[in-house]
Symmetry: C2
Subunit: 201 residues, 2 copies
């Protein structure tokens, strides 16, 4: 049995979305953020010492890191789905976007949030973050002008990884003018599995 | 032929280290950071639009994201090395640390650097970053008290991913008192392949 410990407004929506796409049974335990601090509740620490979502229990295993959980679920339960064959041309592209989501794209988006309450309008860190976001979103937009999905013509787990970043950026008004990204976000938001996952918010 | 575009003091050392461990031939093109801004030179943009290291050319392919490049190199050239078998118990652990390095651990370390010149001694972002680092490093230290390497008893690419974060944290004085981490960093720093890679700095 798979149990998804789901923190609202977090990366854990990714896991529910993935499991819905694969048609794998699972249970969700939902947690609310602290209304003052917006942090995860202490109760998540009882499940895993890092206490942050997603945490997924698969049998005896307790796993963290959304991309790692997704790779593990695919490898274990559905090796031929939502991931290009490792000998295909699309495989390198898939890996790049799987890691790009949290390895590159999320940091400059989060820097905006972390510094929003500090009134640091001319701080070097904000200049850096804006420049990085401009680079990233232009690059992503160009990719989505050419390809239906991040790995090419096939919907994969890389789309689930990237959508979280793009939705977060949309919520902060960062994606105005990036037409291909906006069209993509709208298109993927209408997938049945996404709608079920979003329903847990 | 594999060409590693190596920016000094960056994550690209990971790729050289990996290729040395695997005994795969490669060429290195080294780039210096701008001495004033400490940013990557514009010339890297000619190789890949994002212009940040590592960028690796493998035949016709131009790849970014260190973890993605490492997974791709292993899958393509050495599928049985530096990664636990996908049916072993160590595989989930391997995946977790592969993604944890940039997905979780690096952000609170970098936040310290990004805000160092702002004199934000009591900003919420610094409190958050310190708390996250304390959690992460305590968790990592506990893991390394029990296991020789991140994935268990076998040296893997996850060690290369995590070492970059730990070395960066060491350089900023964040690892005092974490004895198991310090012993691990010292032990891995004596590996022949690491020494060759570090020689490109």
């Amino acid at each position: 049995m798979i149990t998804v410990h789901h923190l609202k407004q977090s990366r854990s929506t990714r896991i529910i979305w993935l499991l819905e796409e694969l048609g794998i049974e699972y249970t969700v335990k939902s947690y609310d953020r602290n209304p003052q601090t917006h942090l995860a509740p202490e109760s998540l620490r009882k499940i895993h010492p890092l206490g942050k979502a997603p945490i997924v229990e698969i049998g005896e295993q307790v796993l963290v890191e959304s991309a790692a959980i997704m790779e593990y679920v695919i490898t274990t339960f559905a090796p031929d789905q939502l991931r290009p064959d490792s000998e295909s041309d699309a495989y390198a592209t898939y890996l790049q976007w799987m890691h790009f989501a949290e390895g590159s794209a999320m940091l400059p988006v989060l820097l905006d949030m972390f510094t929003a309450d500090l009134n640091l309008n001319d701080a070097p860190v904000l200049y850096y973050a804006k420049k990085e976001r401009d680079l990233d979103f232009a690059y992503i937009d160009k990719h989505l002008q050419r390809y239906e999905f991040f790995a090419g013509s096939q919907f994969t787990a890389a789309d689930i990884m990237m959508m979280t970043v793009l939705l977060f950026a949309t919520g902060r008004g960062m994606l105005e003018g990036y037409d291909a990204i906006n069209e993509y976000v709208q298109r993927l938001s209408s997938r049945e599995a996404f709608i079920v996952a979003a329903g847990y918010e």
